[in-house]
């Protein structure tokens, strides 16, 4: 299988602090890969490296076999925090990327409206972000990223701020959108349930400092999936126990480090 995105021997240092050490991660075409790790282990750092927003101290990134220089233009990035422009309407936010690529205004508006409908926000295009709920803002952000038709989607705990019901809803919606048009996805989360139910592959990162991948699990659950129902199937529970066994140690390590104030 072709590798859409590959991180090779990545090390990131901030001053004397080694955030990520000698890490390699590969995402194949159409593959949904989740990265799970304890809080503050450098997951977001890794994603920023993949996006080209952060230059690694050592190592290489290749996108479709080509070394990455500058920003990763093949990638769309869904941020953990709210990154919508508060001075633009929902539609204005969704069409921002098209505008940056000089797509004619009428076409941009038309495609933006289509995307708003696709994420369940038809008729809300004229509202400003602060007039939308947290879940709606995430939908706008999702449409804003996906309208650009990126070949790779990077997601940094995109649903962590949502309440549990909205979250399951958004996860299912994400899966539907992804199934319709399989992209490569690199998804970061600290929620193991979320990682297993969405992904083809789950990668466990060690506790920081000097984070690196320590285990990789293939998720052989059948698709299409319903993220809520799949959580009660025997195979899911089996996988969950296997992965949690491995993850637990790291979480405890991170917890101990944070207790003594040397973590992060």
């Amino acid at each position: 299988m072709t590798r859409t995105l590959e991180l090779k021997n990545i090390t990131v240092r901030f001053g004397g602090y080694v955030a990520v050490q000698n890490t390699g991660i590969a995402v194949a075409e159409g593959e949904f890969v989740s990265i799970v790790g304890p809080t503050g282990c450098g997951k977001s750092t890794l994603l920023n490296v993949a996006a080209g927003l952060l230059e690694p101290t050592e190592g290489e990134i290749s996108v479709f076999g080509e070394p990455l220089v500058g920003l990763n233009s093949a990638a769309g990035y869904l941020f953990q925090v709210d990154a919508l422009m508060p001075w633009r309407t929902a539609l204005g936010n969704v069409t921002a990327g098209l505008e940056f690529h000089n797509v004619p205004r009428e076409i941009a508006r038309q495609r933006g409206t289509e995307w708003l409908t696709r994420v369940g926000l038809s008729g809300r295009g004229n509202l400003y972000p602060h007039e939308l709920s947290g879940g709606m803002r995430k939908r706008v952000a999702l449409a804003q990223t996906l309208i650009m038709n990126p070949k790779i989607i990077l997601m940094d705990e995109p649903f962590s701020a949502l309440d549990i019901q909205t979250r399951v809803l958004m996860e299912n919606e994400l899966l539907n959108l992804w199934t319709a048009d399989r992209k490569s996805v690199l998804f970061i989360t600290h929620d193991l349930d979320e990682a297993i139910s969405l992904s083809d592959k789950v990668i466990i990162l060690s506790a920081g400092p000097g984070t690196r991948p320590i285990a990789e699990f293939n998720i052989d659950l059948p698709r299409p999936r319903d993220v809520y129902e799949i959580r009660s199937t025997p195979r899911f529970i089996e996988l969950h126990m296997q992965i949690w066994d491995r993850l637990k140690e790291e979480v405890l390590k991170a917890y101990e480090r944070n207790q003594y104030g040397t973590g992060n």
Binding site: A51, L53, L71, S73, A75, G76, Y77, F79, V81, D82, A83, L84, M85, P86, W87, R88, A96, G97, E99, F100, H101, Y128, P129, H130, E131, Q144, T145, M148
Partner: protein
């Protein structure tokens, strides 16, 4: 100290603190008008009783007579128009220059570091003293007043904008970059709108500054405007006209502030973040 230390506990236990007597809005309005009437009456009576020398303190009846004369003859509107146009021009030019300067110094660390001491020095200077220079340079017409207003507005906007630019939400910036924004597009789509929201938030202060600049400029030397009316009255020892000018200025400033509040509501209400 017993009751004081347990005060917070007691407050929590009590379902509602005893309600303070709050008069209705109309009662307050009546009381407010009463205060004004008492002050005016005291002024009038003390003046008539020769306790306040009329030469220095005037007579409220004559003050309002003067305002009436100005209004009836229409003279006041010409002067108000001059002061208003100086204020608005001063605000507009000062705000545009402030946004440009603020974005430039906010985005360029080198320029920021280079000009920092000069910006601080000019800001520390009481800029009203630039008035005489501006009158020398630009004459007694409207331009010298606009220049003074600009020099006052510029710094308010400049500081707000350069601060705002440095504090642009990094997630919004990274997001726009990932969506493909070039440097120029970042400026247009992120930096400028975010700077403008800071300008809006300092609208009351900066329009107020423009107004001060215009009036002080007129007072220093001019051929029209409310400041000019006061200057004229002062040089003929017409204390009633001085007071009348002050009243007109105050009412006008209040109206200006009201207009800004309305504009603000229209512009920002929906965008507030």
């Amino acid at each position: 100290m017993g009751p004081a230390t347990s005060g917070s506990v007691a407050a929590k236990r009590r379902p509602r603190p005893p309600r303070k007597w709050l008069p209705s809005r109309s009662t307050i309005a009546i009381l407010q008008i009463t205060v004004l009437v008492i002050i005016l009456l005291a002024w009038y009576v003390l003046g008539k009783a020769k306790i306040l020398p009329e030469f220095f303190f005037g007579d409220p009846v004559l003050v309002f007579g003067q305002i009436w004369d100005w209004t009836a003859s229409g003279e006041i509107f010409i002067h108000l128009g001059i002061t208003l146009s100086e204020t608005l021009l001063g605000f507009a030019i000062g705000a545009i220059l402030g946004v440009i300067g603020g974005i430039w110094l906010g985005l360029s660390p080198v320029a920021g570091a280079l000009f920092d001491p000069y910006v601080k020095a000019i800001n520390a200077m009481p800029r009203v003293i630039l008035g005489p220079i501006f009158i020398l340079w630009f004459g007694l017409g409207i331009i010298s007043k606009v220049a003074l207003a600009v020099s006052l507005v510029y710094f308010v906007v400049f500081f707000n904008v350069s601060q705002g630019v440095r504090e642009v939400n990094p997630a919004i910036l990274a997001n726009a970059r990932m969506l493909g924004a070039s440097k120029r597009q970042l400026l247009r789509a992120v930096y400028i709108p975010s700077a403008l929201s800071w300008v809006f938030s300092s609208l009351h202060t900066s329009v107020g500054m423009a107004f001060v600049g215009a009036v002080v400029g007129e007072y220093l030397g001019s051929a029209g405007g409310i400041g000019y009316l006061i200057l004229q009255a002062e040089s003929t020892f017409d204390v009633n006209a001085v007071f009348a000018g002050m009243v007109v200025l105050t009412v006008f400033a209040l109206l200006l502030d009201l207009a800004i509040t309305i504009i603000e509501r229209r512009l920002i209400a929906r965008r507030a973040s």
